[in-house]
Every structure is written in C-alpha cells, then in structure tokens.
C-alpha cells in the first residue's frame, strides 16, 4: 500500500492581524503550521499503514520554509517527504496547484505505484476545498471527500469502503483504488511522535523538487499564468454602522432588564412572538 498525503504549510490564522493603517495582512512573526485539516488525513493514512503495511509519502508545494511541515510529518511516522518548490509556482490558484501536485504525484508513481492520495478537507488560508478534488480529476482517480471513517480497505481486491458526510446524513461508499480521500475533522487524533521518529525527522534528507523534477510539462499551467482566478481587490470588512441598543433600566435588576428587552423585541418584531409560540414545545 503506497499512500501519498498532500499537506500544506499555512500561517496560523488565529494569529494573523490586519495592518491597521494599510489594511494588508501582517505575516511577520505569524507562526507557520501544518494546515490542521491535513493532520487528520495524515493520521488516517498512518493508521492504514499501521494496519496494512506499506509506505506513506508526504508531498507539499510551497516555499522552502515548508520544509518544517514536512519534517513534522516525518516525525509522526511518514516514510518519505517531498517538497515541490520553484519560483515558477508563485501565485498559483487552486487550478494551477492541483496541476502541479498531480504532476508531482505522477513522478512519485514512477518509483512505486500510488494506491491512495490523501488531502485535507480544506486549508485554513485558502479555505477552498478545491485542491483535493482537482488532483483527483487530473489523475483520473475516484474522489471520496468528507470521509468520517474508513470502514474497510481490501488490499487484495483494491477496494475501499468509507463513510462520507453528506448534508443530511452519512453515505456509505465503496470504490476501487486508486482514489483520493479527504478526511473530515475530528475523525481521529494525531499521535504523539516517538523519540526515534523525532531523530529521524531531524536528520531526514528532504527531497526537494523544482518544476522540472516535479515533471511540469506545460509552464502555462502553473503560477500566475495557469491561474484563472484573479484577486482584484482586498479590503477590510466595513464595520456595521448601527451598534447594539443597550438595554438600560433604572434599577439594573435582571428581571427589569429582560422585561424591557422583551417589550422592545416584540414591538420591533411582532412576528417573532408568533414564531416563538409556534416553535415552543
């Protein structure tokens, strides 16, 4: 079983600030982390490896610093890590990214065939959830998104049975390998790396690929050129003009406050009284 896991290094968006004057993102000092959703995928892949044997290769496209994310993956137990990095990729949108990653996976396949590709549900910076499906289409693999459980993997017959989160329920799907899986958050919990794997990660000779080694054939499909979407404007959300009406009574007793509140509420929204009556048990 050979599994490729796509991981992306992202700025920890919890710590991102917008420059109060220029309205641009202040990235300086914001720590870079492995996209949290990718960790669920990685852990699921590692569990498959634990159960069925085989190897896990992690793949990332990004700047040289993304090395840290890949080493982290090695510390958790991945066998190989490949960083695809080249100035030519700068400005890639999801279409261009999926092209580059798919192309790199084809290169990986030249050594050992790939049975499964894992991607995160989405990233916390791009937030699109498009790259995973994009890679699947480009590699002509079956696509299984929002997977909450891998019920069974039949290595002999090359099939996989999964539970997939649909809007109103859970679909149980069975399909053939090779396929691409994105994993729902909360499906598992990332393991704590062992000391041996920490050593391995610190010493691991990372594979770094440029556009040639990643097998990019068509330069018009990567970077800005290969990206149909164009960011035309970035701006801060306009603050809402009207602030809350603060309920204020003479006594400040909770009871008075809420009675005043309800009176105001039902005067403003008479329908609400009806809705509440309808809803209430």
């Amino acid at each position: 079983m050979h599994i490729v896991v796509c991981i992306k290094q992202v700025p920890d968006s919890a710590q991102i600030r917008v420059h109060p004057v220029t309205n641009t993102i202040m990235r300086q000092g914001v720590p870079a982390i492995v996209n949290p959703y990718d960790l669920y995928s990685l852990e699921e892949a590692l569990r498959l490896k634990d159960r069925y044997g085989g190897r896990v290769t992690v793949l990332s496209m990004g700047p040289p610093q993304a090395e840290t994310a890949l080493r982290k993956a090695i510390s958790f137990g991945a066998d190989e890590a490949i960083l695809v990095t080249d100035r030519a990729f700068a400005g890639s949108d999801t279409l261009a990214t999926s092209y580059a990653l798919a192309s790199a996976i084809r290169q990986i396949e030249k050594d050992i065939p790939v049975d499964l590709v894992f991607a995160g549900k989405q990233t916390i910076d791009g937030d699109t959830a498009q790259v995973g499906p994009g890679i699947a289409k480009r590699l002509d693999m079956r696509l299984l998104t929002y997977i909450s459980k891998i019920r069974e993997l039949d290595a002999l017959h090359g099939t996989i049975t999964v539970e997939r989160r649909a809007e109103g329920g859970v679909q149980v799907l069975k399909t053939k390998l090779p396929c691409l899986v994105t994993v729902l958050e909360g499906t598992n919990e990332m393991r704590f790396a062992t000391m041996n794997n920490m050593f391995r990660a610190a010493r691991y000779p990372l594979k770094v690929w440029n556009k040639e080694s990643a097998g990019i054939e068509d330069l018009t499909k990567i970077g800005l050129k290969g990206s149909p979407t164009i960011v035309s404007k970035v701006f801060a959300p306009s603050p809402k003009a009207v602030k809350a009406e603060i309920i204020d009574t003479e006594s400040n007793q909770p009871k008075d406050l809420v009675v005043t509140l309800l009176a105001k509420l039902f005067t403003k929204k008479p329908d609400l009284a009806h809705d509440i009556a309808k809803n209430a048990p």
């Binding site: 600030r17 109060p20 004057v21 000092g29 720590p31 000391m195 041996n196 050593f199 610190a202």
Partner: protein
C-alpha cells in the same frame, strides 16, 4: 535504541544556543532539546541585545541577525502618578557602527541563532521536554524526555533550561526558588507603523530608544518598567519581585494597565494595536542566590544559574557568555581526554570568575537586599522628586529660594536627614 552524544544541551534560549553552537563548531556531537514549538516560541525578553557577548561567539552576526534598531538614546524616568522627572543620554557615538546595543524580538532572534547552531552541526529536537536527568549514582549520564523511547546518553548535560530550572530541582541540585529572588515581568508588544515610531521618538530609520522607568508605576514594589522601540512596534513592560506581588495582592497585568494609562506613556502608545502579551520570571537574586552550577556530568548556564544583572537589566549577554564558557570548558576537557567530573569541571567556575559575569554580580551583591528593605526608593522619592521639579518649574510668583526651602522641608518630613543620608550611603555601598 538509545543514542549517545558528546553533549546534550537542554533548552534553546541564548545560553543553550551559545553552548550548542560553540560545542558543535568544535566538532563535538551535540544534541539540543527544546520544549517549545520552535526556538524562541515561548521565550521572553525586553529585549535589548548586547553585541559584545554575541560577537565573541558569532563575530559577523550583524550580517544576517534579525536586529530591530540600534540604541542611540537612553532615558531614565522617575515617575509619580502624574508626571516624571527624567534624564536623557543621546550620543552621536552610538550611531557609529559597529553598534553596541540593539532591540530584538526574541522569537525571531532565537530562530536565527538556532539556525546557526544547526548549521554548525548540532542536532536540534523541538517540541520535546526533558523530563528527567538520568543518573548513575551521582553522575548525570543522560536525559529522559516525555516521548516514547526517550532516553538519550551523553558525556555532559548542559542545563540551559532557563529560570526556575525544574530539572535541577528534580535532580536535587536546586532548592525551591525563593520568591524574593525572582521578579515577575510582563510585557506587551504594540504594533505602530514605522513612521509613527520614528516620529514619536525622534529617531531615524534603524535608530532606537530605551526608556527605563522607576517610581510609582510599581506601587511601592521593588521593580522597574521599560519601553523600547522596535522597527514597527514598541515594547512595554514592567517587572517586580514575585514576593511583592504576593504581598500586595496586585497582578502584573493590572500594573501594566496602569502604567500604560500614565499621562506620560499613553501618548507614546496611542493608536497602537497590541500584538503580543507575555509574562516571564527573571532571576534577580544576584550573586548570593547563585546555586551549585556544575557537578559530575552536568553544568548549568544562563538564567538557570541565576546569571542576571538586574541593576543593568542584563541577562541575555550573561546567558550567552556562560553558555560559551561552559562549552569551552567541555571542549578543553575533551581535548585533554579528561572526564566530565565535578573536579575537572571546576574549570568552568574559574572561567566565570575571570569574566564580567561573576565580577559584576559580586559588585552588586548587596543591592537586591537593600532595595527590598527600603520601599521608599520606589514610592516616596519619586513622588518628592517630581513634586520638586513641578514646584521649580511652575512660575507662580513665589521666589525660588522659598521653593527650595519647601522642597527640602518636604524631603525631611518624609524621611529624617539621617535616613536620607543613610539611604544615599546604602546605595553608594551597593554600587561600589
């Protein structure tokens, strides 16, 4: 399978990095363990970097270290509730390279330093906490980490794990930290656009200002406040003895809030956005509080060894220097094929005695005690000094002589002439 190294350094702050760098550079097999996500991720410092200590380790550090601004001006403020009396020293000398002091941001600086350490050949493992020292009778033979398969061996373990070294405590090398020997400091980094920083502090690109503060801002507790300019931000903080906080039942956070609201400080921060809030201990016990700093198979450097000069707000330079000296000790012993026994490691103590570290700490050995027993340095005097200045500078028809008399009287009212002379003498003795 357990690995064996020539040396293990616990911690990747300035002291640990200095030690690991020096050791690795000499060709020894070095492992460094850091519990933070990356070096500097949790470390706190004001932060002023003193060039000399680093220069002796990495002579060309200025080429790529993340330095914010070099200091061209130092101010000292004595504050009461409404005002301050201050002195300023600014010199064109400070504007001539190589510069002597810089402001830095530790998260970035530590990362940079660590990169140098790794480039020198040391193996760094982060997000891993050293939970115990491995002992063979009294001799430290390695470490145990919080990870599965965590035992690792080495000829020497250098404890660079910062103030309140839990490892030293666990191994019985340290007693419990005395609350009177540590200060608790809080600090915030406030974002301000570069042009505003430069306008407000009257500085050019790359120039920086330091403001040290004493007085009512610490509400009678022994401590100081500080404000430094970075490239695109201002650092502000205050620290007081932990024992005082306990007694006064106030929190460092409240102290900092009040300080920021001070009429002299508020306008300097106006319109800024807080980027970071951190709290950290500073070992300020001085010479008398230094614990045992080496033994069979181990040495202690930096804050762990209490190497901080509180009077001059120096710490990182003592940390780096002690780290270097510890490493040089190991290198010398290794070259001579001598074991890392307590007796042989006394060479480290000799090196420290010869350096500014122990010389300076000895010089101020009485100061912490004096300041602690005389709260008037932090309350009454700042108030009086400010009142005096106010009186002299207010033009109100009263002649200066009368004013002088009144000022003298108010000083004497608060404290007898004898007391004043005594205080002055105490200070003089402590600084001598």
């Amino acid at each position: 399978m357990a690995e064996k190294f020539d040396a293990i350094v616990v911690g990747a702050g300035p002291s640990g990095n200095a030690a690991a760098y020096t050791l690795a550079k000499s060709g020894l097999k070095v492992l460094q363990i850091e519990r933070g996500e990356y070096p500097g991720s949790k470390n706190v410092q004001g932060a002023i970097l003193y060039s000399d200590a680093l220069e002796r380790i990495i002579p060309d550090f200025r080429e790529d270290a993340p330095l914010e601004r070099h200091i061209v001006e130092q101010q000292m403020w004595i504050l009461d509730d409404e005002s301050y009396v201050g002195s300023t020293y600014r010199s064109a000398e400070f504007n001539k390279p190589p510069y002597n002091r810089y402001t830095i941001i530790r998260a970035q600086f530590d990362k940079w330093f660590s990169k140098k350490v790794q480039d020198a050949g040391a193996l760094l493992i982060c997000e891993t906490t050293v939970s115990n020292l491995l002992l063979d009778k009294n001799r430290v033979i390695g470490i145990q980490t919080d990870r599965e398969g965590g035992a690792i061996y080495a000829d020497i373990v250098i404890l660079a794990d910062g103030v309140n070294s839990l490892l030293a405590k666990k191994a019985g090398f340290h007693p419990e930290l005395n609350a009177g020997d540590v200060a608790l400091a809080v600090k915030e980094i406030h974002f301000l656009p570069q042009n505003l920083v430069e306008e407000r502090f009257n500085i050019d690109d790359e120039e920086g200002v330091v403001i040290e503060m004493v007085g009512k801002i610490t509400q009678g507790m022994m401590g100081t406040g500080f404000l430094y300019t970075n490239k695109e931000s201002v650092t502000i903080g205050v620290g007081c003895m932990l024992s005082d906080f306990k007694q006064q039942k106030t929190t460092p956070y409240m102290l900092l809030e009040q300080m920021k609201a001070h009429p002299a400080i508020k306008p300097l921060l106006a319109g800024s956005e807080m980027k970071e809030y951190t709290a950290h201990l500073i070992p300020e016990g001085g010479y008398k509080a230094i614990p045992k700093i080496f033994g069979d198979g181990w040495m202690m450097v930096g804050d762990a060894a209490m190497f901080v000069n509180a009077v001059h707000r120096e710490g990182s330079n003592l940390a780096m220097t002690s780290g270097r000296l510890a490493a040089e000790t190991v290198i010398e012993l290794a070259k001579q094929g001598r074991e890392m026994t307590e007796a042989n490691l006394s060479l480290y103590r000799e090196k420290l005695d010869d350096s500014f570290i122990l010389k300076d700490l000895k010089k101020y050995k009485d100061l912490p005690g004096i300041l602690h027993k005389n709260p008037q340095f932090f309350t009454t005097y700042p108030e009086l000094v400010n009142r005096a200045a106010h009186s002299m500078l207010t033009v109100d028809g009263i002649d200066k002589k009368t004013k002088e008399l009144e000022i003298r009287r108010s000083f004497l009212k608060k404290r007898s002439l004898f007391g004043l002379i005594g205080d002055a003498f105490k200070m003089w003795r402590a600084f001598e």
